[in-house]
Symmetry: C2
Subunit: 192 residues, 2 copies
């Protein structure tokens, strides 16, 4: 059942989008090629016409997810020109973000998986992380450029760690406390 080039490109797109969400929700190993194809309304066999392997898809889906995150952060920052940092914090450390990993940050959802992945995937993560830190560095108050950079890197760690831990203990009081404490401490550090 042949399909136009346009349709095929659209199918490829759908596969990458479905994978982007399912990987974040279930981990790289927690979802299979067949289920990703089903989510994209296609059959298992067609997969290898689009991708060399599952790992190939992992890398491509990760790249797209992180590129979208950078675009989203930029939009958030531009929408709040007088308090860009506060806008990023509120957005990132929300219960809504915690409760829907499939639509959220790739680093908080897949940091461990990335650490155990091959070089191609890890490089995708490194190249996806840099722009987010850049955006943070431009939004964060600080004496010097070096100080803002350092604060941005540390803030990124706090954001990812807080979300990761809030999810790991989801359902317990500690989960909300984690988001709130990280939010307050980061906001306070920015005022110094």
């Amino acid at each position: 059942m042949r399909v136009s080039r346009e349709k095929a490109a659209e199918h490829r797109d759908r596969i990458i989008d479905a994978a982007g969400a399912l990987f974040r929700a279930k981990g790289f190993g927690g979802i299979g090629v067949a289920d990703i194809m089903k989510a994209a309304d296609l059959t298992h066999g067609g997969f290898y016409g689009h991708f060399a392997s599952k790992e190939d898809l992992v890398a491509q889906a990760s790249r797209r997810t992180m590129a979208r995150a950078a675009a989203n952060w930029t939009k958030l920052v531009e929408a709040a020109p007088d308090s860009p940092y506060a806008a990023l914090l509120a957005h990132y450390l929300s219960p809504k973000h915690r409760d829907d990993p499939g639509k959220g940050c790739a680093f908080a959802a897949l940091g461990n998986d990335a650490a155990r992945s091959g070089k191609v995937v890890r490089k995708a993560f490194a190249e996806g992380l840099a722009p987010l830190i850049e955006i943070l560095a431009q939004s964060i108050p600080g004496k010097s450029k070096a100080a803002r950079r350092r604060k941005a890197v540390a803030a990124m760690a706090t954001l990812v760690g807080a979300l990761t831990l809030a999810r790991a203990v989801e359902g317990m009081p500690l989960s909300d406390e984690m988001l709130e404490a990280a939010h307050r401490e980061l906001a306070a550090a920015a005022r110094v």
Copy 2:
């Protein structure tokens, strides 16, 4: 080949220890029962005499790993009575810790896996996290008890996030920068 109760208990112990290291190194799904048993010098089939399921082992190994972490943190803190917080930071944010996940923090190695696990495992993680935050709260400078608690929770997020990200981008310059920035910012915040 039947074995005394004492030997059996020792075998069980070895399985839990092997699992504790292998899970942290490879993730809950990244290592199989057969390989864990091999690491404990036992055969695959014997596993189900000790544990109801793999998930049962996951929960038990997680509990032990985290209990040991709390004991280790207490030892570190007691060995540096005038700068306990600095001692914890230096220990946690070292390249050595980053480069050997199998012997390191369960939250930085398995936070994502825990978030995707069942309630039993997530409860184990919540109960393992609380003591670490307590130790941090007692080591960290701060005006009030509430302020120290809040700082401790946020610091825990920074530690776990920095290590997770440093591993996700391992091999790139950003990896070292992540550890150093988190270290400097946390130490600076404690001086305020």
